[in-house]
Structures are given as C-alpha cells and as structure tokens.
Symmetry: C2
Subunit: 377 residues, 2 copies
C-alpha cells in the first residue's frame, strides 16, 4: 500500500477520495420506507422488552425517518468496491510505483468475502495483476465470483495465521503489494465516500419533496462495524457537519468487540464469533480505532442479538423487497431494538423527528444460507 | 362491478385508466442489468440444450437489452394494486352506485394472494367496506397482510366451487359487489397501466443516456400470464405502437393453458397445477382471452420449466438484489431459456439489438418457501 500518512484522517480526504473513485463506482440509490420508519417511531411494548436488559423499564419513544444507502447495489454488491478502488488508485499515483515495477508485481489480499471481489474487480479494471487468498471453505459461488473479475485465487486454512502465511508466500514470490481489507487510511477514506453520498442524496431528496420546509439534511448516520473501515470512514465523512455518527455490531460470541473496547478504553485485538453478520466477525483494526475511539467522531457503538438481526433481515426482504446480507441490517436492527440507542435519539432530538441515515453494506447473500436461516420450523 | 362494456378494449382506455389511478399507485422504477442482458445475448451451448426439445439444434442468437418494470415495489408488493384501484374507482363513478347504497354494501372478492391485499388496500383507501374470501390454508402472513389494510377476511376451502360458495353467501348477506381478480375489462385496463409506464420510462431513460442516438423506445414486452389480466392489459397498452407483446407461462402440470389454448384455437377452462409460479396457476379468463387470442395484440405465448423459473429467480435475487416472487421471473426465464422465443426475436430483429421490457409482477415471497426452494442439497 501507499504511505498511510499521505492523507490526513479528515473530511477533506474523504471528499478527495470521492473525486478520485467516482468514475469507477456506482452512486447507489437511497431508499426510504414509511412502514419501517413508523415501526421505529413506535415505542416497544412491555412484552417486547421482556427477556431483554430493558425489561420492566419505560420504552424509549424516538421519532425516526430512515434513509437507506443501498450499497447492496454497489459494484461487486458491497461498499468494499469503494475502498479497493481508492487504495489501488492511490497506489498507482504513488511516487516511483510504476517506474519501480509495482504494476508488474501486482497486489495481494486475503478475504473470504466482499473485499476479495472488490480487489479483484478494482485491480482488473486498473490492469494490475492480483492474488487473492481465500479460505478453502469459502462457498464455490464466492470463489467463482472472485475469479470472474480476473484475480488469481489461492487457498489457505481459515485462521488468520494460516491466511497470512499464504499471503507472505505470495509477497516473497511475486513482490506483490498487500491491500488490507480495512486497516489502512486509504481504505477507510474510500469506504467513507458512501457516507458522503448519503449526506448529499438526502439533501437532494429533501429539496425535491419539501421546498421551503427548512430541512437540513441528516441528523445522524448509523453504520455497521466489523474491522471498522466503513464506520471510521463514515465518521470522517461527517466530521464538522454536526451529523452524529453511531456504530452497530452483533453481540453474539463477542462480536461486539468495538463496543467492549470503547468501554474498556482499549482496542480488543482478537474476536472469535460466528455471528450471522459474517462481515462483522473481525476485530476493529489499528487505524480505524484511532477514529472510532474519538468520541467527537463516533458518539457510540450499540449491539443487537442474532434474533434481532434475523427479524430485521426479514423486514427488509419482505417489506422493502431488496436483497441485503445479514451484516447489512445491523444498523437498522439497533435503531429498532436497542433501547439504549433509542433513548439517546429520543433525548437528543428534543421532540423533533430525526433523519437517520443507515448504510446497507452489501447484498451478497448465499441463497442456501438464507434458506437455512428462514427454514420452516 | 361496473358495466364491463363501459370502456372499449383499447390503448385509449388504458391511458384513461392511468389518469384515474395515478394518484393512488407508485410509478415503480425500471431497472436494467448488463449482466443479465449479456447472458440473454449469448447463445446457449449444446450442453445447455441437451435434454430440452431443442437438443442438437443450432442455438438461437438474439441480441437483447432488458428493461425490468419492478412491480414488486408497487403498493401491496404487486401490480394487482393497479387493477383493484381502477375497478373500484370506476365503480364509485358509475351511475347510481353511491345513491343506491353501493358504498354501504361494499365489495367482495376471493383470492389467496396479491389480489386480496390489493382489494383490501384500494377499498380501505376509498372508504368502501370489503370482504375477502381466502382459502383456510393461506399463509398467516398473507392473511395478516390482507387484514392489516382493513378488509374483513372470511375463510373457505381451496377449490374454486368452495370459494365461490362463500362469496355467494357474502353477496346474499351484504349485497356486496364482486371484484374479480382478472376477468373484467376494468381490471385488465388497470393492470395495463404497468405496460404504459414501462413504455414511457424506457423512452425517458434512452433520452437521458443516448441523446441523438435515434432510440425509439421498446421493441417488445413480455409479461407473465395467469388469469390473463396483466397480459391482456399490457397488450392493449401497446396497441398501435408497433411494440410486440408476448406472454409467458410455467409449463408444469398444464399451467401453460394459454399457450395450449392458442394452439387449439379454444380457451382452456380448467387448470390444476401447483407450479412454483403460484400467481400463474389459474386458467385465462373469458375477457382476457378476447384480447390474448387476437394475434395482432399478442404475438405468442411461451412456457418454461420449474427448474428454469428457479434458476432465473436465483439470478434476479443474487445479481439484481431485488426480491421478486417466482411468478415474476417467468417472462425473463422465457427470454433466457426458451429457444422458440429466442429464435423469433433473432428473426424479427434483423441484427439490431432489441429493447425488451419485462414485467416483474410482484415481490410477496414467503421467506420460508423461498428457503425451501434454495435449501442446500
């Protein structure tokens, strides 16, 4: 990767990233849902709170209008295309890279998911050879999709050390440059462009429907947090705008490492969770942590259960008729079911409805897996 | 229902229907897919044709650009909202209806699916009481959705005579007016507005992207055919425009009654099929048949297998990331897999790419059913 210090972690750098990657990515649509906004604006019942940490308490009563940034319609079906294009474009423009034979040596990464396809597409588009290390247990569809963009796929075991060993071999053999999935400012700034577009698009939509109503864009954005690339980038995209940024995680088997890390004041380095939000199983990276642990940039991180993720997924599939992967809906799940979050919204909004942006991160579902999730009891 | 002869079966009547229902329905988006258009424009291989009626023959080589009219995003999740609103609005404006106590007597229909929800919504919107007869075996989700719009739901057995007996009882008790799901010109003309919008939207999109390229809108539209309301309405919407209209059916257990009827020169009156295209299990109605059997209005009807419907459904869910029900993709399946249809396109297009409109009819999937369809072997 190019020098991580070449760009400051700031909104200006997200704007600059956007200018650079715009020709290569989709400006994905922003959808709304009256039904789901009404659901979020209806207090949970006592019965619904039973068995939760908020049992017996007065339900929160926030007023929320959602704006869904649909990165499931992005190239490769996920926001990861943004970070990959940005990282590679910065590499291409970095001093001495072309002359030093950087292009011939190519790039390498390890990923079982959307980052693999994103690097494969971005490198093929920019005519850079790429090597993607995937766990041997990846689904055939994911492997085929990664290969279809042009990458050479290598296989490894599933643990981090096993994957890293294969990557190290590739680098030794080819001199390829590593493109990490989230732990680099260029990747984070690329992902942040989704938050930037969301802000612009809500302003445009409000102008269309409510001329003269004095609408001022989003009040807040909530984004899922796995390695933290998207959440940190989104936070930077909102820096200085007054828009409050929140993170969302699954709580299953400790996947809420970011939340726990913030409570402990220290980044948690290892996570072993098999949450259905499979894009969110990794711990927050060192670089994203610098942003996320800054209270001025990320107000708070909240978590939800597997059942809440599943119920929210059903809602989006059945009501909005868009295909999203389970990781995608974790932000929406927090807004619907996490009473701590809902109280913060209620307290901050002072009776005024909040315009809340939600990033749907991707739509690469495995239909067999989805089938199993919703199989009849 | 209002007098079926009050409006001629013509494009002008579809335009008039559109003016009437526009305030009540969504102008649903039209999507494209480079990947799926390329797939349709690639000849099938000899291996793919093995085991089909076209084994050993030269594969067809049509050039197709798809435009998908997404009625899965329509109110109640299906095009049926169009016909229901049109039928009820014509009823309301029919002479003597209000004065004669028509409103108090309300409306009634029988449906296990989208028509039930459509009549429930339209009647609630227009403040007319409605009674919906649903088979006892309907999924709880469908029953709840129908009730949620405000209808009073009654239950019956699953066969046509059982359902009709309950409807007859309702009419005897309340004097309610029957709103049939497809067999009435007002319903057909309402459904045809989807075809009309599709034509307009393609012209608009072509204007945006290809100024001066001399694009002239759609060459053809293909729509699924169950009772024939949508296909006949779509055919009328294209009357006199030069746009060729085709129908599509599942072939499973004789669900291709329209195709067979056209071959025999006589409408087939009874169908007993459990095709996964569950919106297409009914025979074509008497009124739709008048239109569909007119070769000038509908060029031909083609059928596909259950496996082809399933493969197409997977393609739409995985590639386009939109949720559609199996019935929705039967037109696209024909364009991808039916060599008779593909040859007709190739022959008619004379080397020029065709712009082919495809109506995605609805998105009301049962996730449990979808899960079963795609469960891992």
């Amino acid at each position: 990767m190019a020098d991580p210090n070449s760009l400051p972690l700031s909104r200006a750098s997200v704007l600059s990233a956007h200018t650079l990657i715009k020709p290569y990515i989709h400006r994905t649509p922003v959808l709304t849902s009256t039904y789901i906004s009404q659901l979020a604006s209806t207090p949970r019942t006592a019965a619904e709170l039973e068995g939760t940490p908020w049992a017996g308490q007065t339900p929160a009563s926030p007023k929320i209008r959602f704006w869904f940034k649909c990165e499931n319609f992005q190239k490769v079906g996920a926001f990861k295309a943004r970070g990959a294009f940005h990282a590679l474009l910065r590499l291409v423009e970095s001093e001495g890279w072309e002359e030093g034979g950087g292009r011939e040596r190519g790039v390498v990464t390890h990923s079982s998911g959307n980052h693999a396809q994103a690097v494969s597409l971005a490198s093929a588009t920019l005519k850079i050879p790429s090597h993607i290390v995937m766990p041997r247990i990846s689904t055939p569809a994911k492997i085929a999709a990664t290969q279809s963009y042009g990458a050479s796929v290598l296989f490894s075991g599933s643990t981090a050390p096993e994957r890293e060993a294969v990557v190290a071999d590739v680098i030794k053999d080819t001199g390829a440059t590593l493109i990490p999935p989230y732990d680099h400012p260029h990747v984070m700034l690329g992902q942040g462009t989704a938050g930037l577009e969301l802000q612009e698009q809500v302003l445009e939509a409000q102008k269309e429907v409510e001329v003269g109503m004095g609408r001022k864009g989003l009040n807040a954005i909530i984004a899922p947090c796995g390695g933290g690339g998207l959440l940190s980038g989104t936070a930077l995209s909102a820096q200085g705008t007054g828009i409050v940024v929140f993170g969302a995680e699954p709580e299953f088997e400790g996947a809420d490492d970011c939340k726990r890390g913030l409570e402990a004041g220290k980044r948690i380095e290892v996570v072993k969770s098999l949450t259905i939000g499979d894009g969110l199983r990794t711990p927050v990276g060192v670089w994203p942590w610098k942003v996320i642990s800054d209270k001025k940039l990320v107000r708070g991180v909240y978590s939800v259960t597997e059942e809440q993720i599943k119920a929210t997924l059903r809602l989006v599939l059945e009501r909005m008729k868009v295909v999203v992967e389970p990781s995608s809906v974790v932000g929406l799940a927090v807004a619907l079911w996490n009473e701590d979050f809902r109280r913060v919204v209620e307290a901050e909004q002072g009776g005024e409805e909040w315009d809340l942006g939600v990033v749907f991160t991707g739509g690469n579902v495995n239909l067999e897996g989805l089938g199993k999730l919703f199989e009849a009891k």
